[in-house]
């Protein structure tokens, strides 16, 4: 933000884990990046009190001494935004981990500063403005083919405007090259603004946009239980709570793989190192279902694993969402996965504890809910500043409630600020029913907004069919209570049929293996056909049962096994073949009826 000021230097007097206090710091600004101690650890000012500053340090503080200097940088904690981010793995404060590895070792050393993007690489730049053009924040000045499937649009930074005075012709340039000079019409040294291929943005300030739009287009994830039952709009926010082993991470990976977004930002926030490695090894091999290119060519990873410094974990969420907003402002749809926001909340709690703040619920600081709200409100579908393109950021946050108890503070507050709630259920995952999203406790508030899209693109009966299936499942739930007490045998035939049909929906439709080559992703058209055929079977069977045909006769036809296997037997491209199964159902029932 602000230009470089004179360097201020304070002196450390207190050290307590990642929290350090320094004296003689007048002139430091809130959220300024500072260098701490002789080791030059990276820190951020988090409170100012007279001549004292409190600093959270993004690296391990072992060996730091009282009396060592703290040097200000004059800039806020920011991310560097420009070509070269796609396919990268960053730590919580946007240091590229591959570069850190080359510079130091396989283990993370301290006090190393590396640029967030490659400043030496030359990019093919297509300049799209000419001398005399009037530009303002958000206008596109050039485009860069960043990967074979991704075009990076170079934007005038928000808040900057003026008339193009000089401009380079298209060619190969590094990110540091001045592409255009704008005459801002302001006096003094602000008269000319240089536009380069990159700019910086402070992570804690949301990037501005022209206007907010309704999230009327669904984020298609290829997961049946989500797309059909609890859809998320592009620009919406969702919460995935689940105890350990309930399948949060696998689900987040599935969403990162198959969501129809242009850019994926995946934040591994305080989670396992091997999970990030898995993404790193797997994504380059996997193909984007939309264009057949490697998935890594649209993915940015932020890995601040559980054993990396806790304050960088706190920052990682903001780093991720700011990067997501930048791509949104170019007019792209971005999906951001944060796994897990509970670890971020715990980082807040840990730092708050070190600051000796008064705790609220379960030791969390009282500002937990406002921080969560600020984060989730950065999701949205917008009309971008300047260029006027439509872009969106969808946020999907995993929550890890202690003991799987959804009444804990992070889950309850997150629930207030997100519009979709995909509750993972331990009983389902114990039975290896994946994705283990509970269909009775989950909800989506986006349905009304995305209804038209489904009606236009898939089928106008999409949601009435869904409601019908959901009613069947909730009736089944009621019957299961009875079965638990007296057994299935005593139920009358029509209720037995309900139980059977619900089982079919659960096994044949809701269960979806992320490891299956055929079924890992299921296109909406196939989803609709599958559910329609299952419900068709149910409705025809119901008619017969009401006429007194024994349920055993209906179940004997072998149709059940066919219906529960159709997800694997029929691929996405040949989903029309599902109609053959419908014909089989009809001929089977026709025969029974005429008998």
């Amino acid at each position: 933000m602000s230009e470089k000021m004179k360097e201020k230097t304070g002196k450390i007097y207190m050290i307590n884990g990642p929290v350090v206090k320094a004296r003689n710091t007048t002139g430091f600004i809130m959220h300024e990046v500072v260098k701490v101690g002789k080791m030059q650890l990276i820190g951020e000012v988090i409170s100012l009190d007279g001549d004292d500053a409190t600093i959270q340090v993004y690296e391990e503080t072992t060996g730091l001494k009282a009396g060592e200097p703290v040097t200000g940088s004059g800039r806020l904690l920011s991310v560097t935004l420009g070509p070269g981010m796609i396919g990268n793995v960053y730590d919580g404060i946007q240091r590229p981990l591959e570069v850190l590895r080359e510079k130091s070792s396989d283990f993370l050393k301290r006090g190393i500063e590396v640029p967030s993007i490659d400043f030496s690489k030359q990019w093919p730049v297509e300049v799209t403005v000419k001398e005399g053009d009037k530009l303002s924040g958000g206008d596109i000045v050039a485009t860069v083919e960043e990967t074979s499937s991704f075009t990076h649009r170079i934007l005038v930074p928000p808040g900057v405007s003026g008339v193009v005075k000089e401009v380079r012709s298209s060619g190969r340039y590094t990110v540091d090259t001045v592409i255009a000079r704008l005459d801002t019409g302001k006096p003094g040294k602000d008269a000319i603004r240089e536009i380069r291929l990159f700019h910086s943005w402070p992570v804690r300030s949301p990037r501005p946009y022209e206007e907010r739009l309704v999230s009327d287009e669904p984020l298609i994830t290829g997961q049946r239980v989500i797309d059909t039952f609890f859809p998320l709009g592009k620009g919406g926010s969702a919460c995935i709570p689940g105890g350990f082993g309930a399948g949060k991470t696998v689900l987040q990976h599935q969403l990162a793989k198959w969501s129809d977004a242009d850019v994926i930002v995946y934040i591994g926030c305080g989670e396992r190192g091997n999970e990030m490695t898995e993404v790193l090894e797997e994504f380059p091999e996997l193909k984007d279902p939309r264009n057949g290119k490697p998935l890594m060519e649209r993915t940015i990873l932020i890995a601040n694993t559980s054993n990396m410094p806790v304050s960088a974990r706190e920052a990682s969420i903001y780093t991720g969402v700011t990067i997501a907003e930048y791509f949104r402002d170019m007019g792209y749809h971005v999906a951001l996965m944060a796994d897990s926001t509970s670890r971020w909340a715990e980082a807040l709690r840990e730092i708050s504890g070190r600051l000796e703040e008064m705790p609220a619920e379960e030791g969390f600081p009282p500002y937990l809910s406002s921080r969560l709200a600020e984060f989730y409100e950065r999701a949205g579908k917008i009309k971008a500043l300047g260029n006027g393109n439509i872009g969106s950021v969808s946020i999907i946050g995993a929550v890890s409630p202690p003991g799987g108890d959804f009444s804990e503070p992070v889950t309850t507050h997150t629930k207030r600020f997100t519009r979709c709630f995909w509750a993972l259920d331990k009983t389902l995952s114990n039975a290896r029913h994946y994705p283990s999203i509970n269909w009775l406790t989950s909800y989506s508030e986006s349905i009304d907004e995305v209804k038209d899209w489904y009606a236009k693109r898939v089928n106008k009966n999409f949601f009435s069919l869904r409601d019908e299936a959901l009613a069947l499942l909730s009736e089944d739930d009621r019957l299961q209570q009875i079965i638990k007490l007296v057994g299935e045998d005593v139920l009358p035939d029509d209720q037995k049929l309900t139980v059977r049909a619900a089982y079919l929906v659960k096994v044949g439709f809701l269960q979806q293996s992320s490891y299956s080559n055929v079924d890992s992703f299921c296109r909406p058209e196939k989803q609709y056909e599958m559910l329609r055929i299952i419900m068709h079977f149910y409705n025809r069977a119901k008619k017969l049962v009401s006429k007194g045909v024994a349920i055993s006769e209906i179940l004997e036809g072998g149709l059940l096994s066919k219906l529960s296997r159709m997800k694997e037997d029929i691929t996405n491209d040949e989903y029309e073949k599902l109609k053959d199964i419908e014909k089989e159902i009809d001929s089977f029932f026709d025969k029974l009826e005429t008998r």
Binding site: M14, F244, E350, G403, Y515
Partner: protein
């Protein structure tokens, strides 16, 4: 760095001492505390102006305010390492206690280590065959994984850990060097002796590094013990190219020590009085497992923790489960039924197995068998609950079949001898045998191909025959091939 020595303390409180008017102190540095003949070690845990707070590893008994002297070393807690540590025994803070010589040569390492750069990690893919059906079939351990045993007091976790250690091997990879690092935290002498003597019997003792902080040893030392052990493990794995299995037992005692320290420091507690940073602290231990690109060795962790009151939602097992790559949960009810190993498969999980089983790794039917056994066994639980209300006789036929399957599954698949070492093929064949109790239509997780190849419907008579054959010691798997 000049060594600085100060005389006299400002305050003593539990395991902490406060010292004033000191200069040039660095965070986390080690101090030597002497009072008369006694020598203790401590570590700086907080600095405020010219005051420092020091946690004393061996407890503060016998320290006085005026006559205690403190020597600052200027270095964090370190351990001296060379290949000579193999076969040696150390106390909780890395001092040899086996009457052997000091470690000669070697180098000092900071026990806190450094986090592995996630971009440098290699994703673990080699499965370890333990010869235990429940584990190999349903929660396969992968080299480089961290997989804790969740247990309870009185359950046979030590026997199981010993059996895994004794039988574990990687197919076609016998030539590589391996080592075991064993860290005992607050367990009793008998348990420690049992584990060590079993290493001795298997002839592995030469490859074992032992860190002992037993129940009657100073509590605060326990904070350092797992870090000592893992620093040794990292040295052996990533510099000496060995495959290291680390057994940490009992993590619950470690967490208790952490709570004690945190309370003494007057920190804001979170759940059940444990510090708010328990997750990060545990992660700094568990995440030190894994493999690194371009390096040969590996660290596989097998922490053991006893769930207080058998409660899996207690903060210790709960936070552990969030960090580790799965868990093996022992179950008191199975134990009472006389089933060893009493592994509750529904609660157990291995997160890394999915990429390391099936064709090219174990056998092509493994992933589906895995899924089928879980779904069938979870149905068994529902049927059992129902049967306990309405009686077994009232169940519908298919539910009765599930009950039979459940008994066979527990009695033949899970249950096995302490010295029984089953190959993965045997394990999968037993799985098909017990699934034979269910009709074909129920096997929705298996492909028709697999069913045609492996499935044979079993009746009671067949099973009785098989059980007789097995008890007579005959191989019973002839004629299991598909019709």
């Amino acid at each position: 760095m000049p060594v600085r020595e100060y005389l006299g303390l400002a305050r003593v409180n539990g395991p902490l001492i406060f010292i004033e008017k000191v200069k040039d102190i660095s965070y986390n540095e080690v101090v030597e505390i002497s009072f008369g003949e006694a020598k203790k070690f401590g570590q700086v845990v907080m600095i405020n102006d010219d005051m420092a707070v020091i946690q004393v590893f061996q407890g503060t008994e016998g320290l006085s305010i005026d006559k205690t002297s403190i020597k600052f070393s200027g270095k964090p807690l370190e351990i001296k390492l060379s290949e000579d540590i193999l076969g040696r025994t150390f106390n909780g803070i890395g001092i040899p206690i086996d009457k052997g010589s000091e470690i000669i040569g070697g180098e000092y390492r900071d026990i806190n280590g450094e986090p592995i750069n996630p971009a440098a990690r290699k994703y673990p893919r080699n499965y370890i065959e333990t010869g235990i059906s429940a584990i190999d079939g349903l929660m396969t351990i992968i080299r480089g994984q961290k997989l804790p045993l969740f247990s309870g007091n009185g359950l046979p976790h030590n026997r199981l850990a010993v059996q895994i250690t004794r039988q574990a091997r990687i197919k076609g990879d016998e030539s590589e060097r391996f080592a075991i690092v064993f860290a005992a935290m607050g367990i009793n002498h008998d348990s420690a002796r049992y584990i060590l003597s079993s290493f001795e019997e298997s002839g592995a003792l030469r490859n074992v590094v032992t860190f002992l902080n037993l129940a009657d040893d100073p509590t605060i030392e326990r904070i350092a013990t797992p870090r000592m052990a893992l620093t040794a493990a990292e040295y052996l794995a990533f510099e000496k190219e060995m495959h290291v299995l680390v057994i940490l037992t009992d993590m619950t005692n470690y967490c208790e020590a952490l709570r004690e320290l945190s309370t003494a420091r007057g920190e804001v507690p979170s759940r059940k009085g444990y510090p708010g940073y328990l997750y990060s602290d545990l992660a700094s231990i568990y995440e030190r497992a894994g493999m690194i690109k371009g390096r040969k060795g590996s660290i596989t962790q097998l922490p053991i923790l006893s769930m207080p009151n058998d409660d899996i939602t207690h903060p210790i097992p709960d936070l552990t489960g969030y960090i580790t790559e799965g868990q093996v949960v022992l179950d008191r009810e199975l134990f009472r039924k006389g089933i060893y190993p009493p592994i509750n498969i529904l609660l157990s999980l291995s997160r890394l197995m999915k990429d390391s089983i099936g064709e090219g790794f174990t056998r092509e039917d493994h992933p589906h068998i895995y899924s089928q056994l879980f779904s069938a066994y979870s149905r068994v639980q529902e049927v059992r609950a129902l049967a306990s209300i309405i009686g077994e006789e009232e169940l519908i036929d298919v539910d009765k079949m599930y009950l039979k399957f459940g008994r066979a599954f527990e009695g033949e698949f899970i249950k096995q001898g302490e010295n029984e070492n089953r190959s993965i093929e045997e394990t999968l064949d037993i799985a098909w045998r017990v699934l034979g109790y269910l009709p074909k239509d129920e096997l929705t997780r298996l492909s028709l191909d697999e069913i045609n190849r492996y499935y044979t419907r079993r009746t009671d008579e067949d099973m009785a025959e098989i059980i007789r054959a097995v008890s007579a010691g005959k191989k019973s798997r002839d004629g299991e091939a598909a019709p």
